[in-house]
Symmetry: C2
Subunit: 355 residues, 2 copies
């Protein structure tokens, strides 16, 4: 009916055909558009009276500097990506939350890229995923081995989470890494089980394909603790660090929970494995923690509301996220410091599953 092509309502001010730009503001304020820019960015001194006049024009038109123009001019987008296997996994949702907050504190916006742990997609990320759009990437790789990253020429500032992409020989890292002390935390967690009287403790979550990943390191700490007490070591691989993964492995392992050498403790490489494991154990008529003690990693909220509640190693996620954002933004700012491995804190939260 109306001739207004914008389709906006009647009562409200009609949607302008074109978003206002600096020139519109300048025209309304009666100054040059550069002065408007100066007011917006504080680039050059502007007289108070002029500033007020410009500000009034900005408010009246609802002017917001166009991001594309600004990005083009400045060569920066103030956009970071967080590349993770899958946002549905609680740990990564927690991580994303922490990273979004940390980035916002620096005026940065975060966009989530799900890799689904596919080597192909992870390789794409490593090689400079959306280098046309992003200022930097925070990358939590899963399938990528240490050697892969070195091959990719660092086209885009990148920070790695976890040790997976570190050279096994201890050589120079290709990018900054942020990690928790997996060996120490695994030792702590295992010591906790031993202290509560467990003697036959299994480890769930070794991975054949990993050379330097989370699972390997946690397994190493677990092994060190048991060997220090002269106790037997028994490790099982997991296809995926997920609830179904944990359920599957433990399901195929149920006969190891009966007989004279029955397992009475299970160190799981993360909370999901532990919850999947507990689910199957319960279905098989085994009691947690009475028959088997179970613990995991990540400190996800699931462990607070699981039945029984779950003992877990919780990384200091906000510290991790802030550090990762600081490091990647330092590179964006031009830093060429030698990449390093940074360790953030963790703590063991003891709950019902290991009482």
């Amino acid at each position: 009916m109306s001739e207004d092509p914008s389709g906006a309502g009647d009562g409200a001010p009609a949607r302008p055909a074109r978003r206002p730009n600096v020139k519109d503001v300048a025209a309304l304020a009666g100054v040059s558009w550069k002065t408007v820019s100066n007011v917006v960015n504080g680039t050059a001194p502007v007289r108070d009276s002029t500033r007020e006049r410009v500000q009034r024009a900005i408010d009246e038109l609802g002017y917001r500097p166009n991001a594309a123009g600004r990005n083009l001019r400045q060569g920066r987008s103030r956009l970071l990506a967080l590349a993770i296997p899958e946002i549905r996994l609680a740990y990564f949702a927690d991580l994303a939350h922490a990273v979004i907050l940390a980035a916002k504190a620096h005026g940065y916006t975060v966009l989530i890229d799900e890799t689904f742990a596919e080597p192909g997609h992870e390789q794409v990320v490593a090689e400079g995923f959306r280098v046309d759009l992003l200022d930097g990437v925070i990358f939590s790789p899963q399938a990528l081995a240490d050697s892969d990253l070195v091959a990719a020429g660092g086209r885009l500032p990148m920070v790695m989470l976890g040790e997976a992409t570190l050279p096994v020989d201890g050589g120079t890292a290709a990018a900054d890494h942020v990690v928790i002390d997996n060996v120490a935390s695994a030792r702590e967690a295992t010591e906790h089980l031993i202290a509560s009287g467990r003697r036959r403790i299994g480890f769930l979550g070794v991975r054949a394909t990993e050379t330097n990943g989370t699972g390997v390191l946690r397994h190493a700490g677990y092994k060190a603790a048991l060997e220090a007490h002269g106790l037997p070591v028994e490790a099982f691989p997991a296809p995926a660090y997920s609830r179904p993964g944990g359920a599957e492995v433990v399901g195929a392992l149920l006969d190891r929970f009966t007989g004279p050498d029955a397992l009475d403790g299970l160190v799981c490489a993360n909370d999901f494995l532990a919850i999947g494991a507990m689910h199957v154990l319960r279905a098989a008529g085994l009691r947690v923690p009475d028959d088997v003690a179970v613990l995991g990693w990540d400190g996800t909220e699931d462990g607070i509301y699981s039945n029984p509640t779950l003992t877990t190693v919780a990384p200091d996620l906000s510290a991790l996220a802030e550090l990762a954002v600081d490091l990647v933004l330092a590179r964006v700012g031009g830093s060429t410091a030698t990449p390093q491995v940074h360790t953030v804190g963790h703590r063991l939260i003891v709950r019902e599953s290991t009482v």
Copy 2:
């Protein structure tokens, strides 16, 4: 030591000082930059041999069209935002996952905005959050009432999830809405409890502040089912649709689960409330489902691995996400169709908690 300011390694090709642009590609391929543009965008016909030559140059230089330049020229960023209360809540993580996939199918990238259900921040989103950067927004509001949205002039294509921002009087919606049939699904779920012999069924999750929100509609369906059977209605408010929220409410309500009129069923407005409720019920020595049947909404994976496993109403999330993306992109493309309310499917998944 090296004079190379890029800081790149030695073996790998040094990071170029400047990212290649169309002119660099054109020079290498021996064609005009316009031809490169034509190859990249398919704007005009190009001979196969030429196309190949250009493609080789693109690959060799690792050329990727600069997003800022392209956005500026085309007036579109191919960026959508998904505004949700909090990514850590499993339902929203599932939703984000579905939206990311749906958007990717259209060449769009998604950026997550967490509103924390703060009215202030939700208002900002409604008024055209990052209109300078985004092509559109998919918005799952929590605190926003129906009237608020109308006031905001639609500066940015927006699709709303859920009924919260619909006018109560059934008037014209200010934007497209995508919903599930909350009344019908609540009736189904409640009928399921009645069919399994429950007679004293409570509802968890009404909200005083809502006029047209999810909780109100699910309560209406619940009420309709009970009244159809002449059974008593008993509803309780929840401070937040979270596990702690569910735990808190049920914790203060434990005496309603003993005595002659003891509740033997609990319809919870979402899975989180249900899991929090089950947690407290168990701690108080009550058995689910023996003493109390419990169910929720959202179909989150938590309900598969909870103890007991949880009966839930699962929305068809991929349909919901695809529809939302289609609708918002239609607006981006210039559609001025009258906003409508679109309903997607759901199904009741029966598990242990209501056997």
